[in-house]
């Protein structure tokens, strides 16, 4: 029973932390209809930024904001490459993801792993510290939940603003944005900034929880978060009261559950990335079958295009 609870704790904690990234990828992939591979670079960017700042004694909450800004900057570069230089969406993301590897090396000063034990993080100081004292490990889960829900609510609120409506319009009909006198390219860049900002924030929060940053942590982040968005929609897309941001987070928890279960059954960790891809393919095929049944939902966007 203790083992089970321990596993549940890890699944939820990591599910909520990676869930922040899933919300970001929901914005680029679903709202903007942009397959963004920058994510594999902006996730470790957030981790490395957190490690560098917290090691230098910066307030952990400020580190979160700076990580978000760093991710947003990376997203802006992807957007500019795509919109201004007319490089395809996939290639723009790959270019920035590759360049970010060097950027991350500079931030960590050529170290692959940067530990920063026993320094103040959002999990061991302030509110997080208090939760940890009273609830032990569940305090971390609660803290991850709080950060994740705040992000989700802010994104939900944003998508209802005038700018948010235009962002949603630019993903589903760029001509409509032009007709409203706005440049759809600008909206694309904005969406990529939000998406990658949230991805970096997710990396920053994970680094603070682990008290260590890993420069190689980015591999598979695109696959993982896309799978979360797709699984969430396939499983819970028809539940009317659930916003897609929430289904993406729950999708991430389900995905982490699958991975953890496989590891518990004795799978070698080296096979983890392979398993990540396999689950993704399974989710994609299953969601296609599901959307094939409900074809009359009327949206022009092919939800499984990548």
């Amino acid at each position: 029973m203790d083992i089970f609870l321990g596993l549940l704790q890890v699944i939820l904690r990591e599910g909520f932390i990676y869930g922040i990234m899933a919300v970001g990828v929901y914005i680029t992939y679903k709202v903007l209809d942009f397959p963004d591979l920058t994510v594999d670079g902006s996730f470790p960017l957030g981790m490395c930024t957190a490690a560098a700042l917290i090691s230098a004694g910066v307030n952990p909450w400020l580190a979160c904001l700076v990580s978000f800004a760093a991710g947003a900057a990376a997203g802006a570069v992807t957007g500019l490459l795509h919109v201004k230089l007319h490089i395809t969406d996939l290639l723009s993301g790959i270019l920035v993801m590759t360049a970010l590897y060097s950027v991350n090396m500079v931030i960590t000063m050529d170290r692959g792993v940067v530990p920063f034990y026993d320094l103040p993080t959002i999990f061991n100081s302030g509110l997080g510290g208090a939760l940890h004292t009273t609830l032990d490990q569940w305090g971390w889960v609660l803290m991850a939940l709080i950060v994740c829900m705040v992000v989700k609510l802010l994104v939900d609120l944003y998508l209802k603003t005038r700018s948010g409506l235009l962002l949603r319009a630019s993903g589903s009909n760029a001509q409509f944005v032009i007709s409203q006198g706005k440049n759809p390219g600008t909206m694309k860049i904005l969406g990529l900034m939000i998406g990658n900002g949230l991805t970096a924030l997710s990396g920053c929060v994970l680094a603070q929880q682990k008290e260590s940053a890993d420069i190689a942590s980015g591999t598979g982040m695109v696959v993982m978060s896309l799978a979360a968005v797709i699984i969430g929609e396939a499983v819970l897309g028809r539940v009317k009261w659930m916003k897609p941001t929430l289904t993406a987070i729950i999708g991430m928890i389900l995905y982490r559950t699958c991975l953890t279960a496989a590891m518990q059954m004795g799978m070698d960790t080296n096979y983890l990335k392979m398993l990540m891809s396999i689950i993704f393919v399974a989710a994609l095929v299953a969601s296609r079958a599901a959307s094939g049944r409900g074809k009359h939902n009327g949206t022009a966007v092919d939800r499984t295009r990548i």
């Binding site: 209802k160 409506l165 949603r168 319009a169 589903s172 009909n173 409203q180």
Partner: protein
């Protein structure tokens, strides 16, 4: 070669001057469409444009909207030189309804959200509430003029509407804020005959009520003859027919069909 223009009654709203436009320049598929093409559109007029395939009628619209650049020449609208202006910048004073019912509205947003965005055309799109509740009554009143019952369906996604409903909504959205020119790009071509009649009547209503200058391209000769106060027939980048006012009113559909067949046979279609 310069073309004979019908003298406009007052200062024209739109002037296209000495327009050259070549497609696929330098390749074997090169098509020289416009050479020194000139067109003036009078303020408050409703111009219908017909022509065979490849005659340049849709290109006129694309040049006016800015979705295609001119090779040379100038376009003026309301005394402004808009030749170099981007499509999205021109949208503030040019409204357009497309042939494709999916193009003029946003399928994943609700009717209410579509109208709320159109209501703020040209304004700032920042963190204000996306939908202003106090404007809802105004949107409903506008929708009720379509007689399609859309005023009771504000919350449904536009993607689930029929083609006719979407075109009617697109017309409303294109004319929501004051515009100088309304461009109708074969906007009934994708609809069934009954819906296209309805949409044409709504078009007439909107154009007359809001006193908008309109330019309508159509494949339907009957619509071209019945609607508007000026008719242009295009053929290979030139105006072969340009009738205004009484001359157009006396036009018989038969003679229009004959003329159209004549140019179509010339093109072998």
């Amino acid at each position: 070669m310069a073309q004979q223009l019908t003298a406009p009654a007052s200062e024209p709203l739109v002037r296209m001057e000495h327009i050259d436009k070549t497609f696929n320049a330098g390749s074997v598929n090169e098509v020289v469409l416009f050479q020194d093409f000139n067109l003036q559109i009078a303020r408050g007029s409703f111009v219908t444009v017909v022509g065979s395939n490849g005659s340049g009628k849709t290109t006129i619209l694309n040049l006016l909207c800015g979705s295609l650049p001119v090779d040379s020449g100038s376009i003026y609208m309301n005394h402004r030189d808009i030749t170099k202006m981007k499509e999205y910048e021109r949208s503030r004073f040019v409204g357009r309804v497309f042939q494709d019912p999916a193009a003029g509205t946003c399928p994943s947003l609700t009717i209410l959200e579509n109208m709320a965005l159109a209501d703020k055309k040209g304004g700032h799109f920042l963190l204000q509430p996306g939908v202003e509740r106090k404007r809802t009554a105004y949107y409903q009143e506008q929708l009720s003029q379509l007689h399609m019952g859309l005023e009771d369906k504000l919350g449904i996604q536009v993607g689930s509407l029929s083609g006719g409903q979407r075109q009617a909504l697109a017309l409303l959205i294109a004319t929501m804020t004051p515009i100088e020119l309304l461009i109708l790009d074969e906007h009934t071509a994708a609809l069934d005959p009954r819906s296209s009649e309805t949409v044409m009547q709504i078009t007439r209503h909107v154009v007359e009520e809001k006193k908008i200058t309109a330019l309508m391209v159509t494949h339907n000769l009957k619509f071209a003859a019945d609607y508007g106060d000026r008719l242009i027939m295009m053929h290979r980048g030139q105006m072969v027919l340009d009738m205004v006012g009484a001359e157009k009113d006396n036009l018989e559909i038969r003679s229009l069909t004959d003329k159209f067949n004549e140019i179509s046979i010339e093109d072998g279609n």
